[in-house]
Subunit: 296 residues, 2 copies
C-alpha cells in the first residue's frame, strides 16, 4: 500500500518522541508541513530553530487548525486536558494519535475528552525511546525498524485502522494490534517493571556507604543492565503511576523468584542453582526482539 500524504501535521508536545516523529514523517514524505506546540514554549521554539517544525503555535487549539494529522506526544497524564483544549479547532477528517506507554488510561482520557469524536483517535504506542529526553535528541531513525502497537476501539472501522497503520509503516515501523488491557499488562512485564527495577536497584546500590567504590569497578554488564535507570523521570513517574497495579504485580512475582534463588544459594544447592540459571539463560538466549509469539 502506498502511504497517504498529509498536508499538515500538528505536533502537540515537542520532545524526543514528537520531534523524532516529525523528522521521520518529513523524511518519508508523509507530511508536507509541521506545526508545533509545547506546554513550555521554549521546546517548540527550539524545534523551530532545529528545523523540526515549520511553525510554532501559542496553544494546542491553534496548533491543530488546518491539520489533517495530529500527534499527541505529551505525558500520558496530560492526555485528557490536552485533547479537550484542542478539540474546538480539530478538523473532523483529521487522524489523531498518541505515543503513550499505557493504553487503558489514554483510551479512557480520550473518550472523556472527545466524546463521540473518539472515532478520530487511534491509541498508539511505539516501543522505542532513549535514556535522554528532549527535542535536542530527536532523531529521524528513532522509529525505524521498531514495533508500534495500536489498540483500536470498537468505534474504529477497518479503513481507519489501515490509515493509522500506514502512517507508522511509512516511518519504517512494524505495526501490531492489541487489546489495551493486554497491552498494559505486557508492557508492565517487559518495559515498565524493568524500569522500576532499574530505578530501585540504583537506589539500593547508592544507599550503601561503599557505593562509589562499587561503581568504580562496574563493567559492561552493569552498563547495559542499568541503562534504562537513566530514563526521563517525568515520563516514568507518569507511566508507573498510570500502570501501578500491573507493575506492582510484576514486582511481587520478582520478589518470589529472588527469594527462591536466595534460598538455593544459601543452602549451596549447586544442582538447583544451576537448573535455575540454565532455564533463565536459555529463555533469554532464545528471545529475539520483534519476533512474533507462537501462533501469531
Amino acid at each position: 500500500m502506498s502511504s497517504p500524504v498529509y498536508e499538515h501535521l500538528a505536533l502537540i508536545g515537542c520532545g524526543l518522541m514528537g520531534g523524532s516523529f516529525a523528522l521521520a514523517a518529513k523524511q518519508a514524505g508523509l507530511v508536507k508541513s509541521v506545526g508545533g506546540y509545547s506546554r513550555s514554549i521554549g521546546s517548540a521554539r527550539r524545534a523551530l530553530e532545529l528545523g523540526i517544525v515549520d511553525s510554532v503555535a501559542e496553544t494546542a487549539e491553534q496548533c491543530v487548525q488546518g491539520a489533517d494529522l495530529v500527534l499527541l506526544a505529551v505525558p500520558v497524564g496530560a492526555t485528557q486536558a490536552t485533547l479537550q483544549s484542542l478539540l474546538p479547532s480539530l478538523a473532523s477528517h483529521a487522524l489523531v494519535m498518541d505515543v503513550g506507554s499505557t493504553k487503558q488510561d489514554v483510551t479512557q482520557a480520550a473518550r472523556a475528552a472527545l466524546g463521540e469524536r473518539i472515532a478520530q483517535f487511534m491509541p498508539a504506542h511505539p516501543i522505542c525511546g532513549k535514556e535522554v529526553a528532549g527535542i535536542e535528541h530527536a532523531s529521524t531513525s528513532l522509529y525505524k525498524g521498531q514495533q508500534v502497537i495500536l489498540t483500536p476501539l470498537e468505534e474504529h472501522g477497518a479503513g481507519f485502522i489501515d490509515q493509522a497503520t500506514e502512517v507508522w509503516a511509512a516511518l519504517g515501523c512494524r505495526v501490531r494490534r492489541m487489546d489495551p488491557c493486554l497491552h498494559d499488562q505486557s508492557l508492565a512485564a517487559v518495559s515498565h517493571f524493568p524500569h522500576m527495577l532499574a530505578f530501585a536497584f540504583m537506589q539500593s546500590l547508592m544507599a550503601q556507604t561503599e557505593a562509589e567504590q562499587f561503581l568504580a569497578v562496574a563493567g559492561p554488564g552493569f552498563r547495559d543492565s542499568t541503562r534504562i535507570a537513566a530514563g526521563d523521570p517525568e515520563l516514568w513517574t507518569d507511566v508507573l503511576l498510570a500502570n501501578a497495579t500491573a507493575v506492582i504485580s510484576q514486582s511481587q512475582r520478582l520478589h518470589s523468584a529472588l527469594f527462591e534463588l536466595e534460598s538455593l544459594l544459601h543452602s549451596q544447592n549447586r544442582q538447583a542453582v544451576r537448573d535455575f540459571i540454565v532455564l533463565a539463560s536459555k529463555r533469554r538466549a532464545n528471545w529475539q526482539m520483534g519476533a512474533s509469539p507462537a501462533g501469531d
Copy 2:
C-alpha cells in the same frame, strides 16, 4: 614501562576468557608461543584448529612445562584442584594468574594448593565477558580498554606486582589494585547480583502464562537490561555460590528498595515517586564506566 616478553604461555582452560587472553597476548607480542590444556580435550583441540594455541597438552602438569607465564581460566570452583595438578612441573620463575570473578575463595584455594609458592600467584579479575561462552567466541579485543583488578597478597613484593600489572597493560587493560574482600563485595553489588537479578527476572517473567505475548512486545530496554541473563550458566552458578553471602545481602537491599517504590506507587504519591526516580536517574546518568571513585 616496556612489556616483558614471555617465552611460553600455558593456557589452562580453553574458553572465552582464556582464548581471548591468548589471542591478545600474541597480538601484543607479549608471548612467543602458547600451549593449551582443557578439561574437555575438545576445547583445546578446537583452540589449536583456530590458531589460538600452538600445541595441546594432555594434562595441566604437562601444559605448564617450560612455561614462564601461566593463565588459569577455569571455573573458580576448580582453582585448587587445578593448581595442585600443575604444581609438580611449575617453573619457580613462572608468573601464574587467574581470571576468576571472586577473589577471596580463589586466594584461599591458591594458598591451599601452592603453599609457600603462593608468591608466584597473582589473583586477577578482568572486568569483561560476553553472554556467550566457549573458545569459538574468543576475541583479540575482549580485554582492550577494560579494567583488571589485582588483589595482591602480603607475600608479593612491588616488583612482582609491577610484573603482573605489565602483562595486563600490554593487553590494553587499565589495572586497579584492591583488597580481596572489598573486591568480592564490590563485584557482588555491580556484577554478581545484577546477574542474579536478571536470572530471577527472566524466571518470574516466563512463569506467567502470557509470557510469550509479553515477550513479543519487548523492546530495546528489555534487550539491554536482560542481556546478562543469557550468561554462561556454569560460570554464574560457580560465581553466585562462591559469593553467596554478599549477593544475598545485595538482594535483601533490593527487596527493600522495591517495597518502598511499590508502596509509593500504591498510594499514588506522585511527588515521592518522582523524587525516587529523579535520584536514581541522576545517579545512573552520572556514572561512567571505568571512572575512578572520588579520592582514588
